[in-house]
Symmetry: none
Subunit: 217 residues, 4 copies
DNA sequence: TATGAATGAGCCTTCATTCAT
DNA sequence: TATGAATGAAGGCTCATTCAT
C-alpha cells in the first residue's frame, strides 16, 4: 500500500526541471479532484499529466510526498489569495461577500476539492495525518486573525475564545466541503452563502450595538 | 482496486451465523479506527476479528459492502441513542450537556472515529460517495428535528432556514471530528464543548427574549 | 483449481434422491452450454439448478465427477438415439438425412454443446483427459459399426481401414462443433449438411459401382 | 475469474524489452502444452519462464491477452511455414507428404498442442471465443487456397463448394488434434497420415481422370 | 533529467471442498 | 438427505518503488 511508506526527503536540483515539478503537482491536483484520493495512484497521476511515472519518484521521492507538495502549493496559493481578499474587511457583511467570491474561485479552480481530498486522505492514512494537520494550522491561524479583527471591541471578542471560533470556522468549512463532495452538488453550500448574506447585516448591527454597550460599561 | 467493484447484493440465510456477521462488523469498525480506511483491507479486518478472510465475501460480498454495513449498524445504533438522549431537550443549555455526554460515549466506543473514517472514505472513493451520503442524510434530518424543536416560536425559527442550520450542524460536527482525527487529540473538541456550555445559558436567554419580541409583534 | 483434484469415487444410496442427482446433472449440462466449461463452477451449477452447492459434493464427490456423470448421461442417451436412428440405414444418402435430423435434435437439446464443452475441458484439464477420452471411444466404435455396414462389400471396405474412417468421422464431427461453438453460428454446419445431402446420391452410386467392380474382380 | 475480464489494449514501448515479451510468449506456449489451458495461470507462466508474474500484466495487460498474443505468434509463424511448404504442391500425394512433414514439425515444436489448447479454451471461455475464432479464419482461408489450387479443373472443383471443403479440412485437423491430445498418443494421427499416403496416388488418378472427363465435356 | 522495464508485496475475490447440524 | 457456514488455497491484477540506461 502506497501510503504505508515513510516520507523520506528528496529533492533534486531545482533548476530548469521546475516545470516538470509543476506539471507533476498540477497533475496530482487534477487527479485528486477527478479520481478521489484512492484513485490518485502514481500511474493515474502520470496519465493525467502525460508524464512518466518514475518522475514522481525522481522529483518527490514518493507519491505521498508529491501529494503533500501539491497540498502545500495549493494551500499556500489560496491562503495568499484569502489574505489579500480579506485584508480590508472589517464587517461581517463584507466578509460574507468576499468569502462567497473566494469560494467560487476555489470551486472553479478545483482547488478546494483537492484540498478536501487531502484532508480526507489524512484521515484514511495514519501516515499522512500529521503532515496534513500541519497544513491545516495556517488556516486556523488565519481564521483567528480575521475573526479577531472583525470582533475587535465587541462583546464577542470579550466573551468567546477566538481559538474556538477559528477552529470551528475551519472545521465547518471542511465539513461542508466534505458533504458537498459526497453529494457532488454545490447547491447546499451556495444556499448557505445566500443565507449568510441575508444575515450578515443583522449580525453586524448586533455586533455594533454590543460594542457600544461594552464601551459604556 | 478494491473500491472499483460494484456493490452487489448478497446476504446468506440469517440464522445462527448472525454472530459471525456481527463479529465481522465489529472487526471492520475496529480496524477502521485503528488503521484508517486505507488500512482496512480484507486481510486486516480478518486479522482484527480473528476470522477467515473469505467470510467477508461469503457474508457481505465485498469489503466495501461490509464497511457500509458497519456504517449502517453503527449509525443506526448511535442515531437511536441520540434520539433518546435528546428527546426531552428543549433548551440549548440542556442540549449542550446532552451532546457532551453523547459525544463522550461516541469517543469511548470508537464509533465516531469509524464513522468519520467512512465519511472520509466516501470522499476518497467515488464509488462509495452515494452510499455514504445516503447514510448521512438521517443525521441531517435528525438535526433538523432537534433544531426545529429548540427554536420553535423564536426569531431564529422565523428568520433562519432550518435546513441550513441542520446542514451546518452536521457539517461542523464532522469537520471537527475530521480535524480531531488528524491531530489525534480530543482537546480542541472538548474545549469547544466547554465553551458551548458557558454560552448556552446566554443563548437561551437571547432566544427567550427574542420569542417575546416575536410574540408582541 | 477445481480440476486439479483427483477423481475419488463416491455415490450415496441411489434411492429416492435420484431426482436430485438428475437435477444436478441437468443443471450441470445447462451451465456447460450457457457459461462454458470454465464458468461451470459449483456455484454456477447450483444457481442454475436452484440447488444447494453442497449437494454436488454429497452426490458426486466433486464438480469434475458431476461433469463426467453429466457427460455419461448425455452421451449414453444420445448414443442410444443415434443407434436407433441409424439402425436401418444402408445408404449414404439415408445416412445424411438421418444424421441431419439427429444433429438438429442435438442442437435443439443443447446436448451437443455440452459434450463439446466437455471435450474441450478434457484438453484444458489434464486430469480430465483420460476420463473424457474413455467417453469418446464408444462413439468411435459406433462410427465404425455404421461405416462397416455402409461400405460392406465395396472397394472402400477393402481398401480403407475402417478405424481411420471412424476416427476421422468423430474427429470431424467434434472439430465442426468446436469451430461452430466458437462462432456461435450453426450456419456453416448446416451448409455442410446441405452439401452432404447433395453429394450423397453420387457417392452412393460410386460405392455401388465400386462394389460391382470389386465383385467381378 | 481470470477470463471474465475484458481484453484491454496495452503495449509498452517495443524496444529492448522485446526479448521479455518473447520470453513471456514462449513461456505461455510451453505452459499451455504442459499444464493445459486451465493450468496456464499467470503464476504458472511466470514459473515456467522464470519471470516475474507482474511482467505479464506490464507487457500484455492480462493473461488472456498474453495467451492470445502467443496464439497469434505461433499461428502466424506456422501459417508462414505451411504457406512455404505447400507453395509448390499441385498433387494430393505431394500434399500428404508435405503435410506429414509439417505436422511432425508442429508436434515436435509443441506448437500444435498449444494452438489446440487455445481452441479448446475458446470453447471453455465465452470471452475468448471471438478472438480465437478470428485466429482460425486465416487457416480456413489458407485451406481454401490450397484446395482450390489442387482441384482446379477437376470435377471436385466444379461440384463441391470449396468453402465446405476448407472448413471441413480445418475442423478435421483440430478434431484430430483434440482427440489426440486427450489420448496423449500420436499413434492414431500417424496412422491416418500413413493411410492418406497410401490413398493419395489413387485420389490423384481419380482427380486426373475426372479432369479429362470435364475437359471433353 | 528522463524513461522503459522490472520487482515484490499486497489486494480483492472466487474456488472446490468440508463440516456441523 | 440436505444445508448454511466455514476454510485454505489460489487466481488475476495493481501498487509503489527501484534500476539500468
Amino acid at each position: 500500500m502506497r501510503s504505508n511508506r515513510t516520507l523520506k526527503r528528496r529533492r533534486p536540483g531545482t533548476r530548469a526541471a521546475d516545470s516538470t515539478r509543476e506539471r507533476l503537482v498540477r497533475a496530482a491536483l487534477k487527479t485528486l479532484t477527478q479520481e478521489g484520493f484512492v484513485g490518485t495512484t502514481a500511474r493515474a497521476i502520470a496519465r493525467t499529466g502525460k508524464l512518466n511515472q518514475a518522475l514522481i519518484f525522481y522529483h518527490f521521492g514518493s507519491v505521498d510526498r508529491l501529494l503533500l507538495a501539491a497540498l502545500d502549493a495549493t494551500s499556500q496559493d489560496r491562503l495568499n489569495r484569502y489574505r489579500a481578499g480579506l485584508a480590508q474587511i472589517s464587517r461581517l457583511s463584507d466578509l460574507v461577500e468576499a468569502m462567497a467570491r473566494l469560494y467560487k474561485e476555489d470551486v472553479l479552480s478545483g482547488h478546494i476539492t483537492a484540498v478536501q481530498e487531502m484532508v480526507a486522505a489524512g484521515s484514511s492514512v495514519p501516515a499522512l495525518r500529521k503532515e496534513v494537520l500541519a497544513r491545516m494550522e495556517p488556516w486556523i491561524g488565519f481564521a483567528k486573525e480575521v475573526i479577531t479583527r472583525l470582533t475587535a471591541g465587541t462583546v464577542v471578542d470579550k466573551l468567546v475564545p477566538v481559538d474556538d471560533l477559528a477552529f470551528s470556522a475551519v472545521a465547518l468549512y471542511f465539513g461542508i466541503e466534505t458533504i458537498t463532495n459526497l453529494g457532488g452538488d454545490r447547491g447546499r453550500a451556495e444556499t448557505l452563502f445566500a443565507t449568510g448574506r441575508r444575515f450578515a447585516p443583522l449580525a453586524d448591527a448586533l455586533l455594533q450595538s454590543a460594542t457600544w454597550v461594552g464601551d459604556t460599561a
